[in-house]
Each structure stands twice: as structure tokens, then as C-alpha cells.
Amino acid sequence: MNLLEIKNLKAKIGDTEILHGIDLTINRGEVHAIMGPNGSGKSTLSYVLSGRDGYEVTEGEILLDGESVLDMEADERARAGMFLAFQYPVELPGVGGMSFLRAAVNARLREKGEDEVDQLAFVKMVRAKAKDLGVGDEMLKRAVNVGFSGGEKKRYEILQMALLEPTMAVLDETDSGLDVDALRIVSEGVNALRGDTRGMLVITHYQRLLSHIVPDYVHILAGGRIIKSGDKSLALEVENNGYAGIIDAA
């Protein structure tokens, strides 16, 4: 069965239709990239997939493991295996990082019918995964994303992904605001999570992320439609010729 199936998806914000009919199928083990110029609907697609309020699906279908997610709230989708790494991770003053991570992990475990993890075991588990991502103890003790640099916020997103072990991960502009070193660390973190059980959708404006996280498929999103699909060489075409040529040709 396909992991994620997006069929003729149309969505609007308020009265403005942003997505004009998107078709995309992702299987387990595949990494797809969606590239597109600003305003093409990339972030809208990520929010529609994750179930953010205010984004109304007017037509089409989103199936995760064959089940429609359209009637599911954002939290239900997350527990069903959907994960969104935010372009701009949200600061939550007063919400302790560890209790946040634990609440998220336990919610996912409960959904899977597994036992919740106790505090001690959880701290061990977080520390081990955090170390690989260069997330130090000091960061873990702080309130969620509060006082984190841009790079730290992105690493913290990937840490959450590593802890939640989603089946379908959507990474929205994960490269934005990262310097070369941070980009490498984050990409390594993402690559470590690639595998047969998981699909990924990497949304980006630039090709540079895709030389670190090498996709199996590349799709060009423009004007709320996928206008071209190909393999990783399509990303290089964008890098060399810009979006204009592809959009004009479509």
C-alpha cells in the first residue's frame, strides 16, 4: 500500500485557493523533494498535510496508509505517524522541553498501544539521540525553542522527529536560516532517519539542501500545481537555470 497518497488536492485559506489540484504518491523508503519559488504553495501544502486550522481542503483526498486524514485533527494525524518539521519552530515560553518531548512521545506510544516510557528511561533515550544531533543537556533543560538559535531550533525539530519515529515526515524549508555546518548536522540527522519504514517529503526553495539529503524524486511546485517531476537531476536543473525556464515550459 502507498504510504501517502495525495489526490487532486485543492485547498484554500479564507477565500483564496492556494493549491489547485495536487497529485503525489510517496511510498515507504522514498524521499521526495518539492521545490518551488516563493508563493508557490509549498508551506500551504505542509500545513494542509499536517492539519493546521484555517486551511480548508475543498476537493481531493489525502490518504495516509490508505486512511483519509481529512477529518483528523493535527494531533490525530501526528499520532497516526505524520510529522511536520517546521520552517519556523515555535517558541513556547514556560513549557519545559523535557516534559514537552515526553508528552509527545507518550501520546504516540499510547496510540500504538505500547507502554508509556518512564521518566528515567526517557531522559536516557533523549540524551542518546540528542548527542548525535549536537543538542546539549543545557538546551534540553530550557523551555521549548526559547533562546535557541536558528540552527538549534532546526536540530531540535530533527530530534523530535527521531524520538517520534513518524512514518511520514514532512520537512518544511529545513535549510532556511542554516549556515553550512548546521546544514550538515541537520542533514546527517535526517539521513540517519531514512529507511524502509518511512517516507519523507522535503520541501525547499534551494537545491543546496538536496545535495545533503539526496532525494529519490523531485517535484516542481508552481502556482499551486506540480508542474514537473523527475529524479534528483531536476534539482540541478533548477539550480542551473532557475524556476523560470521550467515554469515557462510547463
Binding site: S50, D53, D75, F86, V90, P93, Q160
Partner: protein
């Protein structure tokens, strides 16, 4: 048979009752009661006896305003006695603001009246718990408490109100001696039918360090009016609060921080969370007298509305007669941030749990004011209980 009750024998009480009968409830134009209008209160003081017996150490229990148990089992050096002596009662009453509705009401209808004394330099580290069960529906309770904490003493107390009384109206005076260190948490968790009208006075001497916190969670209508008189220099006074309301609850926190002397610091952090059609009121006045130079007076109130029908009113006031002071106040009213909620939900956290995490985060600045562990636990337990009821 009822014995001779204080309210019928002490001149001060009789006069106060006459004043209450003459003046009645605060008039509609009374500025201090603009946001909290009292249509009607049940004044029916009961007599629950004052049989005292032993119970858990460090817990004084009161029913309908009468001490029931605990007097024999107090922490070392703390004593409790009835305020039958006219001179003690006069000393107590002298701390009350003149012509104050709540003072007249409860002095005039006093149920139990007790003096708690903590001698100078006594060092306690376990809070004394004052547990008030307001009494039955249709009854009112009017406990008077005079708490004298001697110079240099360290004292902690939890004041816990519960029950179904139609009105509980405690009047409490805390006299803090020079250099005393006092931690106080008041938890008002009465039944949703109750009315709670409280007047608390802190009379503070030099170099004392007072940390008082009020949590208004229960009752249908609650008014917590606290006056802090900083009567000496170098006092540190924290007077913080939280109020939580849902359904038709009305919570009113009113404070008067009175800097009479120089070089004192006061800090007030107020947080309110209101759901449904609940209403919250914060009125806070910081008064700095002409002589109170080098005063540092801070006050910040924030309210979080969980429903469009909830209402928060804030009336912060600074009245400053000195010229070398640092004072500030601020008040905000807001709602939960949709982006915060979405972030939590996108991690699989259910909406109610996510909301509660954000409510707790909102309250944390206030909750962290409480510095004694046991008192913080009492408070935390009550706040979590409130959130669990809403989920």
C-alpha cells in the same frame, strides 16, 4: 445552648455590626466595588462550637469559622488562643481600614476569633495549615484571625478554604515583626455555590521578608482584598496571585501595597485564566508615601481568556508622592496563541492536554513566586486539579 459569643459581648463587634447594618452592601458608586457588585449576601453566622481536639500535627481545622481541632498539636512554640480580651481585639481591629464593608461585616458577625502567636526568633520550616470548612449552605462564617509573628521568626502558613457555606468572610491580620520571614499561601477552593469575601491585612516591620500568594480557584463569587502596610525600611514584600474561573465564576483580586517608609521592595505578579462566561477582576494600587524614597514597586497582571464570553477587568493604579522611586505596572489580556497550540498538536499532543500545557506555562511566572516547597506543592496540586476538571 450557645455560650456568650464575642459578637454579642464585645463593644467593638457590636459597633461594627451597627455600622454594617447602617451602611449595608457597598453602594453602586463605590469605586472599590465597581467591577464586583454585590447584590445580596447571606449573613447568617452559625455556631459550630469550639470543641478542640488533637489531630494531625500543624493543622488547625475550622468549621463555620470555629476552631475545631489542632490547637493542642501545634509546632513547638506556636500558640493559639481565643481573642476574648478586649485589648487584643482592639489591637486587631486597629489594623483594619476604617469604614470598610468587609471589616464591619465580619467583625460585627464574628464567629471564632483567634490569636496565633509565633515568638521572636522561632524558626519553623513546616507550614502551619489553617483549614477552613466554611459550613453549610445558608450559613455564613466570619472567622477573625490575628497572627503575630515575632521579630526574626521564620513562619509559613497555608490557608485553605473549602466547603459549601453561602458566605465565608474571613478577616485576617498578619503582624510581621522586624526581620521576620513569612511564607503564606491562600488557596480558595470553595464550592461553586459559595461566596467568599476576604480581607487580609499585612502589617510589616522593618527588614521583614514576606512572600504571600493567593490562589482563587473555587466559589461562585470570590473577592480577595489584601492590604500590605510596609511600616519599616528594607522590607521585601511579594504579593502575588492567580485566579481561575469557568462557568459563571467571578474572581476578584484587590490589593493595596502601601509603602509608608523608604527603601522597600514590593512585587506583585498576577495571572488569571478565564473560561466560559467567567469574569476576573484585578485591582491593584501601589501607594508610595512622600517619605518612602528609594521604593521599588512592581506590579504586572496578565489574564488569559479561553472563551470569547469570558471577561477580565484590570485596574492597576500607582499613587506616588515620593520623587526617587522605581515603580511600574502593567496589565494585559490575551488568548491562547494558535501557533503555539498547533505546534503542540502537530506533535501528537491532544488539544485539551496542549491547552493545559499552555495554561500552565502562562501561570508559571506566578507559580514560581512561591518559594516554600510544601506550599508550592499545595498550589500546584490545586491548579492541576482545576485543569483536569476542564479537560
Amino acid at each position: 445552648m450557645q455560650p456568650n459569643l464575642l459578637r454579642d459581648t464585645a463593644n467593638l463587634c457590636i459597633q461594627a455590626r451597627q455600622a454594617f447594618d447602617a451602611n449595608g452592601l457597598p453602594a453602586a458608586k463605590n469605586e472599590a466595588w465597581i467591577y464586583t457588585r454585590l447584590q445580596d449576601v447571606t449573613v447568617n453566622p452559625s455556631f459550630a462550637g469550639d470543641e478542640t481536639s488533637d489531630n494531625e500535627s500543624g493543622v488547625l481545622t475550622f468549621a463555620a469559622g470555629w476552631l475545631q481541632s489542632g490547637a493542642q498539636n501545634l509546632p513547638t512554640s506556636v500558640t493559639v488562643s481565643e481573642m476574648t480580651d478586649d485589648s487584643v481585639l482592639a489591637e486587631f481591629a486597629a489594623h483594619l481600614p476604617e469604614d470598610h464593608f468587609l471589616g464591619s461585616l465580619s467583625l460585627g458577625h464574628a464567629t471564632g476569633a483567634y490569636l496565633i502567636e509565633v515568638p521572636a526568633n522561632a524558626k519553623l520550616d513546616t507550614p502551619l495549615q489553617l483549614v477552613f470548612n466554611g459550613g453549610d449552605e445558608g450559613e455564613s462564617s466570619h472567622p477573625l484571625l490575628f497572627i503575630k509573628v515575632g521579630a526574626g521568626a521564620q513562619f509559613q502558613m497555608a490557608e485553605i478554604h473549602s466547603g459549601t457555606a453561602s458566605l465565608s468572610a474571613p478577616v485576617i491580620v498578619v503582624e510581621a515583626g522586624a526581620g521576620a520571614v513569612i511564607d503564606h499561601v491562600k488557596l480558595q477552593a470553595e464550592d461553586a455555590t459559595a461566596t467568599h469575601l476576604a480581607l487580609s491585612i499585612f502589617a510589616v516591620a522593618e527588614k521583614a521578608d514576606i512572600n504571600s500568594f493567593t490562589a482563587a480557584i473555587g466559589s461562585r463569587l470570590g473577592r480577595h482584598e489584601t492590604h500590605a502596610h510596609l511600616n519599616g525600611e528594607e522590607i521585601e514584600m511579594a504579593l502575588s496571585s492567580l485566579y481561575l474561573g469557568r462557568d459563571k465564576q467571578h474572581q476578584d483580586i484587590t490589593t493595596r501595597m502601601l509603602h509608608h517608609m523608604p527603601n522597600c521592595t514590593s512585587n506583585q505578579i498576577i495571572r488569571g485564566v478565564l473560561d466560559d462566561t467567567a469574569k476576573g477582576v484585578f485591582q491593584g494600587k501601589v501607594l508610595v508615601a512622600r517619605d518612602a524614597q528609594k521604593t521599588d514597586g512592581q506590579q504586572m497582571s496578565r489574564a488569559l481568556l479561553l472563551s470569547r464570553q469570558a471577561e477580565a477587568d484590570a485596574k492597576p493604579e500607582l499613587e506616588i508622592y515620593a520623587d526617587d522611586v522605581v515603580c511600574s505596572h502593567g496589565a494585559t489580556v490575551g488568548e491562547l496563541d494558535e501557533t503555539h497550540l498547533f505546534y503542540l498538536k502537530s506533535r501528537g499532543i491532544a488539544e485539551d492536554d496542549a491547552k493545559n500545557m499552555l495554561i500552565e506555562a502562562f501561570l508559571i511566572d506566578a507559580l514560581e513566586q512561591v518559594r516554600h516547597d510544601t506550599l508550592a506543592e499545595i498550589l500546584s496540586h490545586a491548579v492541576h486539579g482545576w485543569m483536569a476538571e476542564g479537560a
